[in-house]
């Protein structure tokens, strides 16, 4: 313990130099006087504090340009670190690699995904969500049609929600995209969602694999770039 404290103090005082500043060396020289681990560690800790203040004072005397350059480097590094964390856990960008959401999202479009807030607020009908395609780790986007407890049915070329035809202003007016085959009425179980792609002809969605677990959601699409 003593030797560790001493080693740390030496490092703080001298760094890579042969000899540290007068005051650092003074504190170092007195280290041998301390008795017991506790006192030695306290002495070294105080020494570290002094060194830290001295270092800050020395920094203030550096030329302005050096200080600015150091600050810029520091800011860039912090910015990178924060950016990586945000990209991983808060907001990220996704890429459309199939046509199942046409004509709202075309192949090659990029979109911003919220990875956190939707877990607090929940999703609403009409939201576009990003999820792992059931059984794979591929990410894709679909629209939320039915929430838990809703009954969804496709009949007469349109979607019926809880017994009423659903108004879907986001769909393309072109029937080449929206003409859909009938599907059986499904009641969405708790903690699951009924999802459809906007391109009702090519999209593989809850009509094929049924409602999807909320846990499969990766994020909520906020906007297209």
């Amino acid at each position: 313990m003593r030797r560790l404290a001493y080693a740390v103090l030496v490092l703080a005082v001298r760094g890579r130099r042969e000899r540290g500043g007068d005051w650092g060396e003074a504190i170092l020289a007195e280290f041998a006087e301390t008795t017991g681990d506790r006192e030695a560690v306290r002495w070294a800790a105080g020494g570290l504090r002094v060194m830290w203040h001295e270092r800050r004072a020395r920094r203030r005397e550096l030329p302005r340009i050096v200080r600015i350059r150091r600050r810029v480097v520091l800011i860039v590094l912090i910015g990178l670190a924060v950016g990586l964390v945000v990209n991983r856990f808060v907001l990220t960008v996704g890429y459309v690699d199939n046509g199942s959401m046409e004509t709202t999202y075309l192949i090659g479009d990029r979109y911003v995904v919220d990875l956190v807030a939707f877990r607090l607020t929940g999703v609403r009908r009409g939201d576009v969500v990003e999820l792992n395609r059931p059984g794979t780790d591929r990410l894709l986007i679909k629209r939320v049609i039915g929430l838990p407890g809703d009954t969804v049915e496709c009949r007469g070329g349109g979607v019926w929600l809880n017994g009423a035809p659903l108004d879907e202003p986001y769909l393309s007016p072109d029937p080449e995209y929206t003409r859909m085959e009938d599907c059986t009425a499904t009641t969405v179980p708790p903690h699951q969602l009924y999802l459809l792609g906007d391109h009702r002809i090519v999209s593989e969605d809850s009509r094929k694999y049924g409602p999807v677990d909320e846990g499969a959601l990766h994020g909520r699409v906020l906007l297209r770039l």
């Binding site: 007068d22 005051w23 060396e25 003074a26 504190i27 170092l28 020289a29 007195e30 041998a32 006087e33 301390t34 306290r42 002495w43 800790a45 105080g46 020494g47 570290l48 504090r49 002094v50 203040h53 001295e54």
Partner: protein, 106 residues
């Protein structure tokens, strides 16, 4: 109101210890023991005082080989005068004085 320099309880404590024997050179460790100030508190005060020429410092040559030389401190004439003045000023207002100094100046 600007703060009067060298009036913190820690500084006064150090003054009172140094004034016990103003002519003697003191080691940092002994000062820390006598004032019961941690090194992280004591040394910044010493540094400040020495910067303002209130404290003299010198290096004691090493007695045994392999031991680093030790740093020594004592008040300059200016420092001793200021220390006496500050302690007297505090003693005049004993309400705000720390018990440790109170015991020493009593």
């Amino acid at each position: 109101m600007p703060r009067i320099p060298h009036t913190s309880p820690q500084t006064l404590l150090l003054f009172s210890v140094l004034l016990d024997e103003p002519a003697r050179w003191r080691y940092g460790y002994d000062l820390s023991k006598e004032t019961s100030l941690a090194s992280g508190t004591l040394y910044p005060i010493l540094m400040r005082l020495s910067e303002q020429k209130l404290l003299e410092t010198s290096w004691e040559p090493s007695e045994e080989p392999g031991r680093p030389p030790r740093h020594l401190y004592r008040l300059t004439a200016d420092g001793a005068a200021l220390a006496g003045q500050r302690l007297a000023a505090k003693a005049a207002k004993p309400r705000t004085i720390g018990p440790a100094i109170q015991a020493r100046t009593a």
